[in-house]
C-alpha cells in the first residue's frame, strides 16, 4: 500500500523549546497506527502537525501527495482528507447533534442541506445515536458527545482519521462505547487511523503498528503484540509498567 502520510526529518519547536526532534514517520493507506508515550512526549504535537493545526518548523510533511511547507496554500485540502477527534470532544455547543455532523459536509464539501443531513443521520445511526439527533451537546453524556464528534469527523469523508486521546476525558464506564465505535470504523471501513491513546487493549486488538514516543522522538515501533511483550528500551518497559498497573 502507498504511503498516505509521510514526515521527513520533521522538527517542531514552540519558541525555543523543540518538542519534536527529527521525526521520520510514514503511514500506509488502511493502516491503524497507535501512538503511546508519557505526557509531554510529543504524541499530540505529532498528529496536530499532520493536519497543520501546528505548522512544522523544519523538514517536510506529505499528506495525500500535498507537500508542506511547499504547498501551504493547500492546508484546507489536507484537513478535508485528515479528520480529527479531540480529547475534549469540541462539539459546537450551539448546534444539535445532527447539525454538528451535517456542518462539515454542507460547509466544507458544499453539499446541499438535505443531502448533508441525510449523511449526518446515517452516521449518527452508525455510532448508535440515531434517537439523539436533536439534542444539544450539553444534553449528552461524555461518551455520547465523543461518538457525535467521531460522526462529525467522518461526515466529510476523510481518507485518514486521527484521534487525540479520545477516551482520556471520559468516565470509565463510557470508554467502552467510544472504543467500540472506533473498532468498528477500523474493521468495517478499512479507514486509515492514527490513534494517540493509553488504551493498551485497544492498541493490541486493532492496531497494525504501535509507536512509542518519548521526549519528542519515536523510540520504538512494531507490531503491537511484539512491542508490548518485548520492549527493548528501559523507558518503554517503565512506561508499560505504569500503564498496566492502572
Amino acid at each position: 500500500m502507498p504511503n498516505i502520510i509521510e514526515l521527513k526529518n520533521v522538527c517542531k519547536s514552540f519558541g525555543n523549546t523543540e518538542v519534536l526532534h527529527n521525526i521520520d514517520f510514514a503511514v500506509e493507506e488502511g493502516e491503524v497506527v497507535v501512538v503511546i508515550g508519557p505526557s509531554g512526549s510529543g504524541k499530540s504535537t505529532l498528529i496536530r502537525c499532520i493536519n497543520c493545526l501546528e505548522m512544522i518548523t523544519t523538514g517536510e510533511l506529505i499528506v495525500d501527495s500535498i507537500r508542506i511547507p511547499d504547498e501551504q496554500g493547500r492546508i484546507r485540502q489536507i484537513r478535508l482528507e485528515v479528520g480529527m477527534v479531540f480529547q475534549q470532544f469540541n462539539l459546537f455547543p450551539h448546534m444539535t447533534a445532527i447539525e454538528n455532523v451535517a456542518f462539515g459536509p454542507s460547509k466544507a464539501r458544499r453539499m446541499n442541506k438535505a443531502k448533508a443531513t441525510d449523511i449526518a443521520r446515517g452516521l449518527l445511526d452508525r455510532v448508535g445515536l440515531a434517537e439523539f439527533e436533536h439534542q444539544l451537546p450539553g444534553q449528552l453524556s461524555g461518551g455520547q458527545q465523543q461518538r457525535v464528534a467521531i460522526a462529525r469527523a467522518l461526515a466529510v469523508s476523510p481518507k485518514v482519521l486521527m484521534f487525540d486521546e479520545p477516551t482520556s476525558a471520559l468516565d470509565p464506564e463510557m470508554i467502552g462505547e467510544v472504543l467500540d465505535v472506533m473498532k468498528s470504523i477500523a474493521n468495517d471501513s478499512g479507514m486509515t487511523m492514527i490513534v494517540v491513546t493509553h488504551e493498551m487493549g485497544f492498541a493490541a486488538q486493532v492496531g497494525d503498528r504501535l509507536i512509542f514516543m518519548d521526549d519528542g522522538r519515536i523510540v520504538e515501533e512494531g507490531k503491537p503484540g511484539d512491542v508490548m511483550k518485548n520492549p527493548q528500551s528501559e523507558r518503554l518497559k517503565d512506561f508499560l509498567g505504569h500503564v498496566k498497573h492502572h
Partner: protein, 240 residues
C-alpha cells in the same frame, strides 16, 4: 411642600419632543456604534489565533497595521471624555477644516455632531466587548472547525459569531444604556434632547422638583425598554 402635578402635565409635550430626539440619537448611535465596534473589535485581533488561522506573507503586515489602527482608535476614544469629543467635533473640527482646506463655511449640525459622537464613542467600547467575547470562545472549537476543512470566513460566521454574540448581550446592554444616558451631555452643543428640554422648561418656571423628576422617569422608561429588549433577545437564543 408645594408639588404641582399640573406643571408635569404642561411640560410633557415638550419633554416628549426631547425624548424623541434622545431616542433618535441613541438608536442611530447604537447602530453605527455596533458597526464601528464590530470592525474595530475584530480589527484588534486580526491575524491572531482567536480568529482561526494565522496569516502568512504580506497578510502578517496587513493584520499588524489593522491591529494598530483599531487599537489606536479604541485608546484615543476611551482615553478622552465624551463631552470633550462632542465639543471638539462641533466647535473645533470646523476650524480645523477651515485651517487646512479652503472650505470657508464648513460646519456640522449639532444633531449630526451628537450622532457621530455617540457612534464613535460607543464603537470604541463595543470594540472591547466584541474582542473580549471573541477571544473567550474555546479555541478547541476553532480547531474542530479547521480540522473539518472549514474556511476561516465560515468559521467566523457559523461558529465564533453565534457563540460570541450570546456572550456580548449583557455587556452590550450596559453600553446601550450608557450611550442613551450620554446623549444628555449634548446639552452643551445645544441639541434639544430630553435633558435640554427639561433645563429650558425649568429656566422658565423654576419647578425643579417636578421637571427633573419627570425627566428622570422618562429616562428610566427608555433605559428599561432597552434592557427588556436585550433580555428578550437573550431568552430567544438557544441556551447551551
Amino acid at each position: 411642600m408645594d408639588f404641582e402635578f399640573s406643571v408635569i402635565i404642561e411640560s410633557l409635550p415638550a419633554l416628549f419632543e426631547g425624548a424623541k430626539l434622545t431616542w433618535y440619537i441613541t438608536i442611530l448611535g447604537i447602530i453605527g456604534g455596533m458597526i464601528f465596534g464590530i470592525l474595530a473589535g475584530l480589527g484588534r485581533i486580526a491575524g491572531t489565533a482567536a480568529l482561526g488561522e494565522k496569516p502568512h506573507g504580506i497578510f502578517i503586515w496587513v493584520s499588524v497595521l489593522i491591529r494598530y489602527i483599531s487599537g489606536g482608535y479604541v485608546e484615543l476614544i476611551r482615553g478622552t471624555p465624551i463631552i470633550v469629543q462632542a465639543m471638539f467635533l462641533y466647535f473645533a473640527f470646523p476650524m480645523l477644516v477651515k485651517a487646512v482646506t479652503d472650505i470657508e463655511r464648513f460646519r456640522i449640525e449639532a444633531l449630526t455632531a451628537a450622532v457621530i459622537t455617540i457612534v464613535v464613542n460607543a464603537g470604541a467600547y463595543i470594540a472591547e466587548i466584541v474582542r473580549g467575547s471573541v477571544i473567550s470562545v474555546n479555541k478547541g472549537l476553532l480547531e474542530a472547525g479547521m480540522s473539518l476543512g472549514i474556511s476561516r470566513f465560515q468559521l467566523i460566521v457559523h461558529v465564533i459569531g453565534p457563540i460570541a454574540i450570546r456572550r456580548m448581550i449583557p455587556p452590550l446592554g450596559n453600553q446601550f444604556i450608557i450611550s442613551l444616558k450620554d446623549t444628555s451631555l449634548f446639552i452643551v452643543i445645544g441639541v434639544g434632547e430630553l435633558t435640554r428640554q427639561g433645563q429650558e422648561i425649568m429656566a422658565s418656571n423654576f419647578r425643579a422638583l417636578e421637571i427633573w423628576l419627570t425627566v428622570a422617569i422618562i429616562y428610566l422608561m427608555m433605559t428599561t425598554t432597552l434592557s427588556m429588549t436585550l433580555r428578550h433577545f437573550e431568552k430567544k437564543m438557544k441556551m447551551f
